[in-house]
Symmetry: C2
Subunit: 157 residues, 2 copies
């Protein structure tokens, strides 16, 4: 692990990929930044190797995809089992995202989708049996994303 710095080229890559991970080409970025596409290709490989880029993901409109229920669930797991429970809860059908939080009450937050209330009920039931106590369920009305704009940054790589 040596200390490295994200320069303008890296930042441009990360910003472009957050906006469109599929249709952004190395050539495309290279024209914006003023280096060759080969260089962009090398930088991307480096960003992936460093674990800074973790995944290329596609966001869906769950409702249009046939899943009208989009629900956030808040639960609490015993500290010692928190991480294991979070990973296992990810296997419950309908769970699409899990966050572990640095807090006592409500240390696990799940993003779930379903076709009917039964789907959500089933998820909550399974969570309870796993040892997660549920304290809250709320419907998502809308969601907006914004690419992270980078300023001067220093990272360990």
């Amino acid at each position: 692990m040596t200390s490295t710095v994200l320069d303008d080229v890296d930042r441009e890559i990360l910003y472009a990929f957050q906006q469109d991970a599929r249709n952004t080409t190395t050539r495309n970025i290279s024209e914006r930044v003023g280096v060759t596409a080969s260089t962009i290709s090398n930088r991307i490989a480096q960003l992936e190797a460093d674990g800074i880029i973790t995944n290329y993901y596609t966001t869906l409109d769950y409702e249009r995809a046939g899943f009208p229920l989009h629900v956030l669930i808040r639960g609490t797991a015993p500290i010692a089992e928190r991480e294991g429970l979070a990973r296992r809860a990810l296997d419950i059908p309908g769970v699409v995202n899990i966050r572990e939080l640095m807090v006592g009450e409500g240390n696990i937050r799940l993003e779930t989708v379903g076709q009917s209330n039964d789907d959500i009920t089933r998820i909550v039931t399974v969570l309870s049996k796993m040892g997660v106590s549920i304290s809250d369920e709320v419907l998502v009305r809308n969601q907006y994303y914004r690419p992270l704009a980078f300023l001067e940054t220093e990272v360990e790589s």
Copy 2:
């Protein structure tokens, strides 16, 4: 808007794209499903046109990218202004995601990242001035994603 059904080809595309939106090729999917790459290309265009695919996104390890603070903020906005406030809050540097919820207390949830506590403080200050009352801030410890696995689904297109 006519009623359409997602078939196995569509589901395979959505599932593959949720796993890797950048390195999954049309040919790659076509071999799994048993239709030609041309057909996959057409289906993708249709899924985009229908608004089922909303974005191709890249997830980052914010900590390794130089932003060690990853914080969820919970706030409440007056119902009438909720949507407008949510959209404007997205322009605050460091805010990467906003959800509007169908609930009274805590109807706006923000995902934010920062290099120092000052960054988070600044975000909260701006939110307060905008008219959002903040009730909670918690640190994210870990996060896991899972592609949505589709069963039989019917959608409006």
